[in-house]
């Protein structure tokens, strides 16, 4: 007796869904028409005296790789950086805002801003505009107070200080690996080796992560940017 309208309702809904899902995979169907997503692997790890940030370089548009060598590690201030994941447009706009606010703050206070403050600004923007954003970012860097800090700001706009943080679609493949291999008080080289190993594993297993590995080391002395090209990855098709 009630099955008729119910079935009709279900049918109607599935039609609408099919329309919305047209040509999109499970990972990209939440995107607005024309929106690019960085199906991504990003991570940041604290070590003695600084932070290392790491990201893959793939930008995908559905199944098409729009950019195979993009830079997902953006600078917010002299020693403060962030890894972007989610919508490229949203995260670019967010980092531009935070960059602007931090430069103003540095001028007003006459000192280097703290990573904590950078993360707080990012969190405010992410939280207040959560309905309109798809952005998961990791803020990390060096400042004289913390001597190196990492903050994870996932989708809803929480802000969580962490010794290390993972993000992006590829991160799900490497949580076990990083949990097993992370140690407190690592050296810079140990931290670099860890992120390279972990991100290369994620790039091998996650279809929307890939390309090259970009790393950035932020310390009091300054920032060192490096990359490992796709044919020299520590783990993956080049040499499992």
């Amino acid at each position: 007796m009630f099955s008729q309208p119910l079935a009709h309702h279900q049918h109607h809904q599935s039609l609408a869904e099919a329309d919305a899902y047209h040509g999109k995979s499970a990972e990209t169907r939440h995107l607005k028409p024309g929106e690019l997503s960085t199906g991504t692997t990003i991570m940041a790890v604290q070590f003695n005296g600084g932070v290392v940030l790491c990201a893959d370089s793939r930008v995908s548009t559905g199944s098409y790789v729009a950019n195979r060598a993009s830079d997902k590690i953006a600078q917010l201030h002299d020693h403060i950086w962030c890894c972007r994941s989610g919508s490229a447009a949203d995260t670019q706009a967010l980092t531009d805002y935070v960059k602007h606010y931090l430069s103003q703050l540095a001028i007003e206070t006459g000192r280097l801003p703290e990573v904590k403050v950078a993360a707080h600004l990012m969190r405010r923007l992410c939280y207040q505009n959560k309905d309109y954003l798809m952005a998961g970012v990791i803020v990390g860097g060096w400042d004289p107070v913390s001597n190196g800090a990492v903050y994870n700001i996932p989708l809803g706009g929480a802000c969580i200080p962490m010794p290390f943080a993972l993000g992006g679609s590829g991160s799900t493949f490497i949580y076990g690996l990083v949990d097993a291999e992370y140690k407190e008080n690592m050296t810079k080289d140990e931290a670099l080796a860890l992120v390279r190993k972990a991100v290369s594993h994620a790039m091998a297993r996650d279809g929307s992560s890939g390309g090259i590995i970009r790393t950035l080391v932020a310390t009091e002395e300054g920032n060192v940017k490096e990359f490992i090209s796709g044919n020299k990855l520590p783990y993956g098709p080049a040499g499992w």
Binding site: R111, K116, P144, V145
Partner: protein, 302 residues
């Protein structure tokens, strides 16, 4: 007042021909008739002290929330006021707003120098417009900067000027108070400079500053400020009208130091009572010495 007036003193938006803004000067004068507010930077913290004359005969106490002249801005910042209490409350409220707004925006406490700068910008704004009146109050700001682990004392004046001090005073009797504080609160920055350039008395040496002199502790600072308040009242305050000699008064004191975990809190009652007793004894002892001196040097002017 011979120099004032001539039509240039009605608005703070007009300079006089010799480049003065009379309204701002009058505002400073309004502060001068208020009970003194003193601030002292010590080795391990800051002490704020306010002298509150009990100017009505039937008044019971000024130590009520309404009579308060030292305000908490946030947990680590205190504000002592001299001048019109109502104007002072406005400034204190603004300081609280600035502190709260900074915390909300940046997720970290406002550094004292930034708060002082913002507060002085606010006070200064009221010296710019024809439709506004400058604040008739001076604010002493004691703060602790957790990021640099440094405590500091700033003074914001009605003109909107703002500087950092080792010792600052506002209100009636501020000049003798400053002279007294200079004796105990050395300026280590300048003392070091003096030492580097060949010692006290040499080039760069400061008068009344001895080499190697150290900042006192807050515990000693409380005593010394109590003594200074009693001294400036006994001597008739700012230049001998004698008006402040009479009448009871109350002291309000707060500090912010290592011992309080760098929180700005009121000085405990027993500590203050002890300080006041000590101050009275000291002044009495010094008075007796002076009497002896007077006997020896007959006819000396007081």
């Amino acid at each position: 007042m011979a120099s004032s007036g001539s039509g240039y003193d009605l608005s703070s938006s007009t300079f006089s021909p010799d480049g003065r803004i009379f309204q701002v000067e009058y505002a400073s004068r309004a502060v001068e008739s208020s009970g003194a507010a003193l601030g002292l930077r010590c080795a391990d913290g800051i002490v704020l002290c306010v002298e509150k004359p009990m100017n009505k005969k039937m008044m019971v106490t000024k130590n009520t929330p309404a009579g308060r002249r030292i305000y908490a801005v946030d947990g680590k910042t205190g504000l002592a006021l001299a001048g019109y209490p109502g104007d002072g409350r406005q400034v204190a409220n603004r300081a609280r707003e600035e502190a709260a707004n900074y915390l909300e925006t940046y997720g970290s406490e406002i550094p004292p120098d930034v708060l002082a700068a913002r507060l002085s910008a606010y006070v200064h704004y009221f010296t710019l417009h024809g439709a506004l009146r400058p604040f008739g109050c001076t604010a002493l700001l004691a703060g602790y900067d957790a990021a640099t682990q440094r405590h500091s004392l700033h003074m914001v004046e009605p003109s909107g000027s703002c500087f950092e001090y080792y010792a600052a005073a506002a209100g009636r009797g501020r000049q003798p108070a400053r002279t007294e504080m200079e004796k105990l609160a050395v300026n280590p920055t300048r003392a070091a400079a003096a030492a580097a350039s060949g010692g006290a008395g040499g080039v760069g040496g400061e008068e009344g500053m001895e080499r190697g002199q150290q900042l006192i502790s807050v515990a000693e600072g409380v005593r010394q400020l109590a003594k200074i308040v009693y001294t400036i009242r006994d001597s008739g305050g700012n230049g001998g009208s004698g008006a402040s000699k009479d009448g009871p008064f109350e002291i309000e004191m707060s500090w912010l130091c290592e011992k309080t975990g760098w929180k700005h809190v009121g000085v405990p009652k027993d500590v203050m009572e002890e300080a006041v007793e000590w101050a009275k004894r000291e002044i009495e002892a010094e008075g007796e010495e002076e009497d002896e001196d007077d006997d020896e040097e007959d006819g000396m002017e007081e």
